[in-house]
């Protein structure tokens, strides 16, 4: 048998590992779905509290994802293009929200807004502690770190040469960034926004600590799961979990698909 025709274990091993993990995730979701029924899901959706949580969840995580991009795009570009040695330290520090336990981020936000500086910020009129704005802030802090990491990778993979040529053609540094770099990075911007959005939708610990779990006020879907579980209503908790997983999956696939359509 020639080396070319000899069966190799290379791809089968990689495919098996990938499929085994995917199968485990699908089994988890399947078991959860089996614990619920369309009637449970329908009943859960009739609850005013849960309807409020759905709207609040999607509204806050969408706003937080957009605000994350406002920081992640310039920060990712700076980390990818900047040459100063201190940027390596900055990059490591920007990962702090990723490595911190989420609950600690909530605790840090709570303590910050009890400090003199935090009180000064709130005295300007924007209330964050135990408010909807606090939910967005907690989602934004963590989402921005993930989006920055994604955008840093995107800009790092893009050559800076087209931007340099654009400079010789008459562009300012801003012009080269807005006309060349940003459109080329659109797929990464969509990916970074999706990551921030998904992180925000699933965020629980920081929101619980910093914004609380007040029904019809600061209750987001992960909070609903926790509140329903805490009162022993497993059916509602599972129904909301399925809703959370299904909508997140549909939105992420849609965003990825539309993102690819836009940039190709």
């Amino acid at each position: 048998m020639s080396p070319a025709s000899r069966p190799s274990s290379f791809w089968p091993v990689f495919v098996s590992v990938t499929l085994a993990y995917l199968a485990f995730v699908l089994v988890l979701l399947g078991v959860m779905a089996g614990h619920s029924s369309p009637a449970d899901l329908w009943a859960a959706m009739q609850s005013r509290e849960i309807q409020h949580a759905v709207v609040l969840s999607f509204g806050t995580c969408t706003l937080a994802a957009l605000l994350s991009l406002v920081v992640a795009i310039p920060a990712g570009y700076l980390l990818a293009r900047g040459r100063h040695p201190v940027l390596q330290l900055v990059e490591a520090m920007l990962d702090i929200p990723i490595v911190l336990p989420p609950m600690v981020v909530g605790l840090a936000l709570l303590i910050f807004f009890q400090s003199t500086l935090g009180r000064a910020v709130e005295s300007l009129g924007a209330r964050f502690t135990y408010t909807v704005a606090g939910i967005v802030l907690a989602q934004w802090v963590i989402g921005t770190a993930f989006a920055t990491r994604t955008l840093r990778g995107t800009f790092g993979h893009l050559s800076s040469r087209p931007e340099q040529v654009a400079r010789t053609l008459g562009c300012s540094p801003w012009g080269a960034f807005l006309r060349i770099a940003l459109p080329s990075a659109l797929r990464g911007v969509v990916a970074g926004g999706s990551v921030a959005w998904a992180r925000g939708l699933g965020e629980f610990g920081p929101i619980l600590v910093f914004a609380g779990a007040m029904r019809m006020r600061t209750e987001v879907l992960p909070t609903t799961v926790w509140l329903e579980l805490s009162v022993g209503n497993l059916d509602a908790a599972v129904a909301v979990s399925i809703l959370l997983v299904a909508t997140a999956f549909v939105v992420l696939v849609l965003v990825r698909f539309l993102g690819v359509q836009v940039v190709s």
Binding site: P162, Q164, T168
Partner: protein, 222 residues
Amino acid sequence: MIALSGVEVESGPFRLSGISFEVAAGEYAILMGRTGTGKSTLLEAVCGLRRVTKGTIRLGDRDVTSLDPAERNVGYVPQDLALFPTMTVRRHLEFAPRIRRFPRSRVVAKVEELSELLGIGPLLDRRVHRLSGGERQRVALGRALAFEPSVLLLDEPLSALDESTRNAMQRLLQRVRERTGVTTLHVTHSQAEADALGTTVLRLEEGAVHVVKGGAADAASE
């Protein structure tokens, strides 16, 4: 006219110093030299993408040494072409004239003129990733010529092409020179390109630029 006088450029550990040469207005100068001697670095210094630490660069009657790349009026075709991945061929040709706020009628006329000169009319609405090597070269050349620069810098523009495409591009560059009369500095390793195109041939060797054919007699290292 392109005139470098005592130019020093640093690029990491690499350093070129005391570089002086002159290319008269309307000349087609070929700059040759072994790999790693700094030919591309010199082109980048002329178009403003690399900082000059000593000496002066004059383009025409202007000292451009400390000017921003956007203010130098230099058309630049880098070795990797660096086309804009999200744009069509037409957008490439319109790019510089639009940035420089040419009137709409002049932008349209320029696109028509260049697409005819470069033979890329049928490609105008295509995205660049769908083009062949020779077509991409012509788009990069068109983009660099579209704002009527006073100087054209070409960094090994034909090196990645097969022989028949290279010959066709060589004829095209001759036609561009006859039609536009733009002062050109063309970096290459190819003696055939130098013989066919160069009215002046310079060689960068041991940190100095020597005149091999034609050109101003004062090209020398300080």
